[in-house]
Symmetry: C2
Subunit: 250 residues, 2 copies
DNA sequence: GAACCGCTTTGACGCGAGTCAAAGACGGTT
DNA sequence: AACCGTCTTTGACTCGCGTCAAAGCGGTTC
């Protein structure tokens, strides 16, 4: 379902904040030079998708790669018994498979979102002409890999409480990315989606959040906003288990 | 602790099998042309490490990237309270960070292993001269990302039984990679390491394996060998939840 | 305003997996 | 052989989280 147009009012308003978070070291257009950017712009297509919509990851048999400009996406991997999110995508990051191999890309928008999409084959050509682009792609992939492994650690061994706290801190870290101290999170996820991401049930998420609120560590002013009241205490909760910031491949 | 030499007898014996599995689409030397291979060979260094040893991921301040020739490695991510494996590395795959950024690479050899290591800076130069090399690196990263997400799905929602079965099938799939039907696994992992990988306790791993054996789905002829007796039944156990083979980025 | 709908919260209950502890198995050494 | 240390197996118990069920919000529609 196509969006009304690039200049739709409500989304335009959110743009400045997203631009700020494009500082992220992992944007495609942000880590290449001017000439590469021009080449990318020639083949790129700005695309807007509505919250909840799936991202169409191939057009006319050609897979696409998208660089998220603003908004938040979820990468979901579905199996017979439902779907589970395996990661989030924040502005400056990338979705899609540059190789277009068996790519059942399942990406869902959690908020209204905008991304620059590139046809796989055209991008491949550009990255052949401009090695810097391929380099940027590699950086992105490694970044995503690192994030995926972060989640593995969190989901693998932690208790429900620790997972929820880790999620909150992680979300704050990734969402802010430029803004100084975002202690007020505007969660685009509903409880069920958080559960998907953390491998927990809806009820457990709710209970944990309420518990944290009762303990005075967070505040829940509305359904979709969470304030990190006592960040130090939150970090201490997962702190014993702080993982070494590591970026390995594979 | 350095290895005796490249021609040590016990490890040489294992080489042919590993060569076979180098069919893997993700080896560095196996998906580039002859001239690139020569360039890589000039800067590469063959390295042998003993089972249990950590891989030194930087030499003289320069991080390294390694392409595994044979053996099995584990990528471990350690935090305050111990360490957890976040992935395995099979022949044809790659370890280390080509960008050498805050790379606390923690890699441990599960078996005696051999890899070609490349100094980060030299590899970077080569990949600048030969785009194909960078392309291969990108492929590797995406492959690893896909594997990491596989684990996320398995660890996120599955029961202990399902995780163990998934691990066995996964291991068979990745280890064999060329060999026709490896229904007899020679596990280089002890129970504890499997637990690390799956986010389960030693005892649970043991109980599940015994349970599967009692059900006649597998056989445990020795401590480190597992026979997949009824593969169909095993696949049915995780089959309801077969994930779509997907390769997304990020 | 009242009536609906989806989401969230809260409670009660049962099961699965972690933990502690002890007893086997296996491999290596002398 | 008999010893030892390491790894594995088995048992008993506890507790966290999933599940089922019902009630409480918001938000939207008429």
């Amino acid at each position: 379902m196509p969006f009304e147009g690039p200049s739709a009012a409500p989304v335009s308003a959110a743009r400045p904040a997203a631009r700020a978070s494009a500082v992220h070291f992992c944007g495609l257009c942000d880590q290449v030079g001017e000439s590469e950017r021009r080449a990318l712009r020639r083949i790129g297509l700005r695309q807007l998708i509505r919250s909840g919509d799936p991202l169409i990851c191939s057009t006319a048999g050609d897979a696409i790669v998208g660089s998220l400009t603003w908004g938040v996406l979820a990468v979901v991997r579905s199996d017979g018994s439902g779907a589970q999110s395996v990661g989030l995508v924040f502005p400056g990051e990338i979705v899609g498979d540059p190789f277009g191999s068996p790519a059942n890309a399942a990406v869902r928008a959690l908020t209204d979102a905008q991304l620059c999409t590139f046809p796989r084959s055209a991008l491949e050509q550009v990255s052949r002409d401009y090695p810097v682009v391929q380099r940027a792609l590699l950086r992105c992939a490694l970044h995503s890999l690192s994030e995926a492994r972060r989640w593995l650690l969190i989901i693998g061994r932690q208790s429900a409480r620790e997972r929820v706290v880790a999620f909150l801190l992680e979300f704050a870290r990734r969402q802010r990315a430029g803004a100084p101290s975002g202690d007020t999170l505007d969660l685009p996820l509903k409880r069920g989606s958080i559960g998907d991401l953390l491998g927990l049930s809806i009820e457990t998420i709710s209970r944990q959040l309420q518990g944290l609120a009762r303990a005075g560590l967070i505040a829940l002013p509305s359904r979709r906003t969470i304030e990190l009241v006592d960040r130090a205490a939150l970090e201490r909760l997962v702190g014993g288990r702080r993982s070494t910031i590591e970026r390995v491949m594979p």
